[in-house]
């Protein structure tokens, strides 16, 4: 038990360091970026000195960059992500929260479809004796995984919105109406889910093949259990273990990937907010979106770790007093993923 606490303590500490590093690097990178945010805000016209003075004072831009950095970092830890740089002074956190629901409306279905679909397709591919079926699923997975999702999205728009006219091209509901229309949800969710589905299918297939080759499966078969019972009740739970890790990362990928998918479908989520902010040099919003994504990804990784520890009996054994080896390799890989 103590070993496990030490493990989680280390995980939390490294996450915290990572979090601060992300903010620091990005803050100073944005400071170094070319262009004058005030001029960008005003547009391609001369800037009146009086306006520059007022907005500089209103946003504290006259303070030295170190002071602003320290202030900002302090604010972040109290939950204040600053204010959107504009003439409306909207809190960044409010802005992000107002968009987060729209992004989740895409990400959660995409996550579920890709996870459940990946488990089913991967298991079928691993088990089937029909070569063409395995070849079709595995080959299709490689192809779809290699396709950039924004391009795939444009392709879907062309075929299903413009040629066939089945789904709308853009937006999340008819103009001037609140909420999310289901027909608007279809194409972006498919776009988001596709490459993750392909990836998870591949992982699931190899994990299932491995699982099916193990002794306990033979034991189950020799007990006379039906082959589907062996597959779904004995082999599957074991083959699912790698999926816990993969699914944890995949949520991060889906959220980060929403930037491109939302741009293609004009979906007003966090991704579109992020792109707008980059175009306008709205640095506080850029930082805010990255911080929210970083926190979500870190939390998901911690959660994945906890869940993994709970479901994998071998890990529980590792944490027992006899053996106290933390799973070093896996931890390193997680940090890489977050940084990427």
């Amino acid at each position: 038990m103590k070993a496990r606490l030490i493990h989680y303590g280390r995980l939390l500490l490294s996450s915290l360091i990572l979090f601060i590093a992300v903010i620091t690097v990005l803050f100073f990178l944005l400071e170094l970026a070319p262009g004058d945010p005030i001029q960008t805000l005003v547009g391609d016209v001369p800037l009146s000195e009086a306006f520059r003075a007022q907005i500089t004072a209103a946003y504290g831009l006259d303070k030295p960059v170190w002071e602003r950095y320290v202030l900002y970092l302090g604010n972040v830890f109290t939950g204040n992500l600053g204010f959107s740089f504009g003439t409306n002074n909207e809190p960044v956190l409010d802005l992000i929260l107002s968009r987060a629901g729209n992004t989740l409306a895409l990400a959660v279905p995409a996550f579920l479809i890709s996870t459940i679909g990946g488990i089913i397709l991967g298991s079928i591919a691993a088990r089937t004796r029909r070569r063409w079926l395995d070849g079709g699923i595995s080959g299709g997975a490689v192809a779809l995984f290699s396709v950039p999702n924004f391009w795939f999205g444009m392709l879907l728009i062309m075929v299903f919105s413009i040629w066939l006219g089945w789904f709308p091209t853009q937006g999340k509901s008819p103009y001037g109406q609140p909420g999310i229309g289901l027909e608007y949800l279809v194409l972006p969710v498919i776009t988001m889910a596709t490459s993750e589905l392909a990836y998870k299918t591949r992982i699931m297939r190899s994990s299932m093949i491995e699982s099916l080759g193990q002794d306990f499966v033979d034991t189950a078969r020799s007990k006379g259990l039906s082959s589907s019972h062996v597959l779904w009740r004995h082999a599957l739970p074991n083959a699912l273990l790698p999926m816990v890790t993969v699914s944890g990362y995949s949520l991060g990928y889906i959220l980060a990937g929403s930037v491109l998918v939302e741009r293609v479908f004009g979906w007003p989520g966090m991704g579109l907010l992020f792109i707008d902010a980059i175009n306008r040099q709205n640095n506080m919003v850029i930082l805010g979106v990255v911080i929210v994504l970083t926190v979500v990804i870190i939390l998901v990784n911690i959660l994945t770790d906890v869940v993994y520890g709970l479901v994998d009996p071998r890990l529980r054994a590792q944490f027992s007093p006899q053996r106290t080896l933390p799973p070093e390799g896996r931890q390193d890989r997680q940090s890489d993923e977050v940084a990427a």
């Binding site: 391609d44 001369p46 007022q54 003439t87 579920l112």
Partner: protein, 533 residues
């Protein structure tokens, strides 16, 4: 061994159920919203970006300016033909010495929140808000006082005459004193939710989705014929075009490459007259080692085939520039400048001039290579630069195309002077002294959106100052003529084409009379347009 496995499945099931509940829930709201339109006259105009404010007194991008033009009123209306008509001021009179402008205000006008509009509001605007505005700053520098004579009369006392005074006053939207006084002007909530006196009232804004306006039932200028206007934010130009051609939106800005389709479709029409003329220009860095000599600059300019640019890069919209000022500004156009005479595209003569200037062709047939900057998002300008590449190659000049974002363009061209040629689309604006002259006069402060050549020509600066210091139009015309004549000799900034192809396009299926001229640029004819059926 089975317990943890069961736990995983259970966890997954809970996750799944939760997510399904979430999607089902959001799906449900859309179903409820579908029937909301019955009988309401709704105008739909797609906008290209999520506005960071709707008050054009502070930020001047295309989207804030468009919204301000529907919600707020200026004192004087100025049309795209430069005609002045009464706005919030019923009449105005400038004293002979050009120092006192008396404005008599319309009576019975109220702000959208019901407060009366008075001379106090006008005085507050000129003292506090106008100096923050790009061009209003020039009035601010010269304003001695804004005197409230009575509830409906204001006199602006200036310290010196200001040539484009009325045009600049006409470019200022009035905002309410009772909302802004004593607040931080740049972060006031009313910048996003403006309260004005115009035909449309701000209704709602939803970040990333849309802005909605409603009719002003008490509009002083007549009865508004639209109940609601919805402005969905559609950042993708292709999506805007498709929505417009499909009739899903009544108005949208579409890419210039779509304009052939616009002219083929009987239901769509480019609103070429909706704003002050725009122009595509070329700017020279006179400090570049290749472009120091005015003769070389003139040769480069002559090598750019302006007719071909209009025909191909600009899809045949607009006219090739034949002088520095547009013809709509008749009183200011120099009769001595004629680009087709002064800078003809005579390849032999251009080659000769470049040889004479000491830039003979090298072994590879090229004389030198220029670093060309432009803004990627301006697709019309990008197309112009692509054509310029082959035109210049013909006379032995290579170009390296450096298309970037607007922010990088601003920094590289204006601040760091790291360019040889720059191409841009800009607007003529309300008056040559505020819209055009800044591209010619000395800019040693390296301000953005002004002459980036590094040249300060005393003759041009003198002419510019003269045009600013008098309010007599004939005298201003003489000064501006001198400026253009000298600009032709120096050649460091010149228009290639007058081009209004970036203006919005309308679909006329649902609404009639959208293209009626209005007394003020950028404003829709809300009181006269009618819905079909």
């Amino acid at each position: 061994m089975r317990t943890p496995q069961k736990r995983t499945t259970g966890l997954l099931a809970v996750l799944a159920a939760g997510a399904l509940a979430l999607t089902a829930c959001t799906g449900g709201t859309a179903g409820g919203g579908n029937g909301a339109e019955g009988g309401e006259r709704v105008y739909v105009q797609a906008i290209a970006d999520d506005p960071m404010g709707l008050n054009a007194q502070l930020i001047s991008g295309a989207t804030p300016s468009m919204f301000s033009a529907q919600i707020l009123d200026p004192l004087i209306f100025l049309s795209q033909d430069y005609e002045m008509t009464p706005g919030l001021a019923e009449s105005w009179e400038l004293s002979d010495d050009g120092l006192d402008l008396t404005l008599v205000l319309r009576e019975g006008v109220t702000w959208h929140d019901g407060e009366p509009f008075t001379a106090e509001d006008v005085a507050f605007n000129f003292e506090e808000i106008v100096p923050l505005q790009s061009f209003g700053a020039q009035i601010g520098e010269r304003l001695d006082s804004a005197e409230v004579v009575d509830e409906h009369t204001v006199v602006l006392h200036l310290t010196e005459p200001f040539g484009p005074l009325l045009e600049t006053v006409a470019s200022q939207f009035m905002v309410p004193k009772h909302i802004y006084e004593g607040t931080d002007y740049v972060t006031n909530q009313a910048n996003m939710e403006p309260i004005g006196t115009g035909p449309m009232v701000f209704d709602s804004y939803s970040s990333g989705e849309q802005v909605t306006l409603a009719a002003n039932p008490d509009y002083w200028g007549g009865e508004v014929q639209v109940d609601r206007a919805v402005y969905p934010i559609m950042t993708d130009p292709n999506a805007r075009a498709e929505a417009l051609f499909a009739g899903e939106v009544d108005q949208a800005s579409v890419d210039v490459s779509q304009q052939d389709r616009v002219s083929d479709d009987p239901n769509t029409l480019l609103l070429e007259e909706s704003n002050f003329p725009q122009l595509v220009t070329v700017m020279f860095n006179a400090q570049s080692e290749y472009l120091e000599d005015p003769a070389v600059r003139a040769a480069v300019f002559a090598a750019l085939d302006r007719e071909a640019i209009v025909d191909t890069a600009l899809s045949g919209i607009g006219t090739p520039a034949n002088g520095f000022f547009p013809e709509a500004l008749e009183w200011a156009v120099s009769p001595n400048v004629d680009f087709s005479q002064d800078f003809p595209r005579d390849v032999d003569a251009i080659n000769e001039a470049l040889d004479e200037a000491g830039f003979e062709r090298g072994a590879d047939g090229m004389r030198f290579t220029l670093n060309v900057r432009y803004i990627n998002e301006l697709s019309d300008v990008a197309a112009t630069v692509e054509m310029a590449q082959s035109m210049l190659e013909e006379v032995g000049i290579g170009i390296e195309m450096q298309g970037t974002s607007g922010a990088v363009f601003t920094e590289k061209v204006y601040t760091e002077s790291e360019f040889d040629l720059a191409f841009l689309r800009s607007t003529v604006g309300a008056d040559p002294s505020i819209g055009i002259v800044r591209w010619y006069e000395c800019n040693d402060q390296k301000a953005a959106a002004a002459n980036p050549s590094g040249l300060c020509d005393p003759e041009i600066d003198a002419a510019a100052a003269e045009a600013l210091a008098t309010s007599v139009q004939a005298d201003r015309g003489v000064a501006l003529t001198a400026l253009q004549d000298r600009a032709a000799e120096m050649m460091y900034y010149a228009p290639l084409a007058w081009f209004n192809g970036a203006f919005p396009t309308i679909n006329t299926t649902r609404w009639q009379g959208q293209d009626e001229p209005t007394p003020m640029t950028n404003r829709m004819p809300w009181t006269t347009m009618t819905m079909e059926g």
